[in-house]
Symmetry: C2
Subunit: 325 residues, 2 copies
């Protein structure tokens, strides 16, 4: 692993090989930390996915949590569990991808641990930092806030559909959906940009589907929410159509798109969205609003509002994980 | 989990429930971080161990890595993988023990993630901090340094023996061995105390047996080592005798005792050991020395030196993990 991972540099003083890694935290910033474990058969299917995809998705999911705080990633540690059947090539390819993605976002892999396990597993921890005034929590949303999302949703779910079933879709949609599933992009730059605005009251990443994550953001702030517009990725619509499914369901319940959801002061939204589009070349989509009334509702153009079950994927509530169905 | 874990306080600003935890790192200190994954059937046996023991050992192992840097722990994050058969009581008991041990050493559990997994697994990350001048690396040892160990070894291996086999030993030895296996104590205070001395050139924890860990410490500093005295815990000697085994082997190869090994300037050792004994009420045992000559040797009183295979448990080198044998 040490051959793959960049040697400690900058603020990282001790990398892989000692009892612990060491770094110099920024004096003026808060540190943030997130841990996620991904398990073969639950979060990924090693039989159907390359090692690079497994590594990329795992690292992206953790970087996305850092993005959701408005922070920038500094370092990552990785615990990798391998079976007797895992090849050295698999391990190296997985590490290379994780190192490349972390590196692309300015983070170093500073610690690692490889152990035997009954199934492949990856547990990644990422540490980031953010100035105290920019840290975005989940619980800052207020009734009336506009919910903005940094990109269209459902593409990752569409990619999973293509891995599971033979569906006829055009080549561009196929490629985009598979890319979204295999190599999702954490929104670090977008998160830091949004965090710089005090009009952004709360932020989180959309990892479990728009419905569940909006309901979490609302509940954290003591609010309810109404989703007024479901932003469906074009490739999600195409794959859903081929599968006889609803693209809206992919966006509402699919998860793992890793876009950010922000609760934004209503008077500031239009201006912020214009600047976002100018900065990132794509829209900050208004998908709904926070309400004083608890609960989650869906009210698309012209329709009457209806209650929406949060849906999405919750590891403790559902019996069968999506990847294992 | 939030009900069990202390609410964020002190320098921890955001605990469990947001995308990431946040804390204010100390301005004058380095931060350190360690991650370890423990898997059922590899690192522990959930059928033979209570949830509290699983949680305690996992947290102790990570805190021990922090101790080995001379640091004090600040916060921990936990990824817990549970099977369909895992009860809520199991999860709560495991969390309570981890919280209690972390708390006892001044650390807060600040992040958590529970996921479905094909077997129980625990991946813990602990962040600590240490002043720059006190940070102890593995690679600072020099030929001639005395190797000091903070306590006798082999008791954890003896406890494992008692869990596996019916052995006749006296009640006190049985209790001590089981306690060493089930509830090992990380040497945080001892590590911080040793780290304050610039005569301590290198430090690490003894988690994989004295032979393997001494050989690692030596190699990290470009040295070899000679072990001149194997400190065998009384309960390890008693259990080994009952099992027809060698207590020295328990100490040299057993692992998971979580004592610290320090490479100490020879002229300072006696004074440091006297102060250590006065401070902690037990000896800092001289177990050997670092040599200019590479390799690992054993030379007990009056005997000729002989080469020693590092032994101990290495997850990538051995086929069958000790707990699964």
């Amino acid at each position: 692993m040490r051959a793959i991972v960049d040697a400690p540099h900058g603020r990282v003083r001790i990398g892989i090989g000692d009892d612990a890694a060491a770094w110099q935290p920024s004096r003026s910033h808060l540190s943030v930390i997130t841990t996620d474990a991904l398990v073969d058969g639950v979060h990924f299917l090693s039989e159907k996915m390359a090692a690079a995809a497994v590594g990329h998705r795992a690292m992206a999911s953790n970087l996305s949590d850092i993005a959701a705080m408005g922070a920038r990633p500094v370092l990552a540690t990785i615990a990798l569990g391998v079976t007797a059947a895992t090849t050295e090539e698999w391990i190296l390819s997985c590490y290379r991808t994780m190192n490349a993605l972390a590196s692309a976002h300015g983070a170093q892999i500073a610690g690692g641990d490889v152990t035997r396990a009954p199934s492949l597993l990856l547990s990644i921890t990422v540490v980031g930092e953010v100035s105290r005034t920019r840290l975005k929590r989940r619980d800052g949303g207020r009734p009336g806030d506009v919910l903005g999302v940094t990109g269209p949703l459902g593409a990752s779910r569409a990619g999973l559909e293509l891995l599971r079933h033979d569906r006829t879709v055009d080549a561009a949609a196929r490629a985009a959906a598979l890319r979204a599933f295999v190599a999702p992009q954490p929104r670090i730059r977008e998160g830091r940009w949004l965090a710089a605005s005090h009009h952004v009251h709360a932020m989180m990443d959309c990892s479990d589907g728009l419905a569940l994550d909006v309901s979490r953001l609302a509940r954290a702030g003591g609010c309810g929410a109404t989703i007024t517009d479901v932003p469906i990725a074009a490739e999600a619509a195409a794959v859903a159509a081929a599968a006889g499914a609803d693209g809206r369901a992919y966006a509402l319940e699919g998860g793992e798109d890793f876009e950010l959801i922000a609760a934004i002061a209503p008077r500031a939204f239009a201006h912020l969205a214009r600047r976002f589009a100018a900065r990132f070349g794509r829209p900050l989509r208004a998908v709904g609003r926070l309400d004083a009334e608890p609960g989650l509702r869906l009210q698309e153009s012209g329709e009457a509002p209806r209650d929406l079950a949060p849906g999405g994927w919750d590891h403790l509530q559902k019996e069968t994980p999506p990847a294992a169905r």
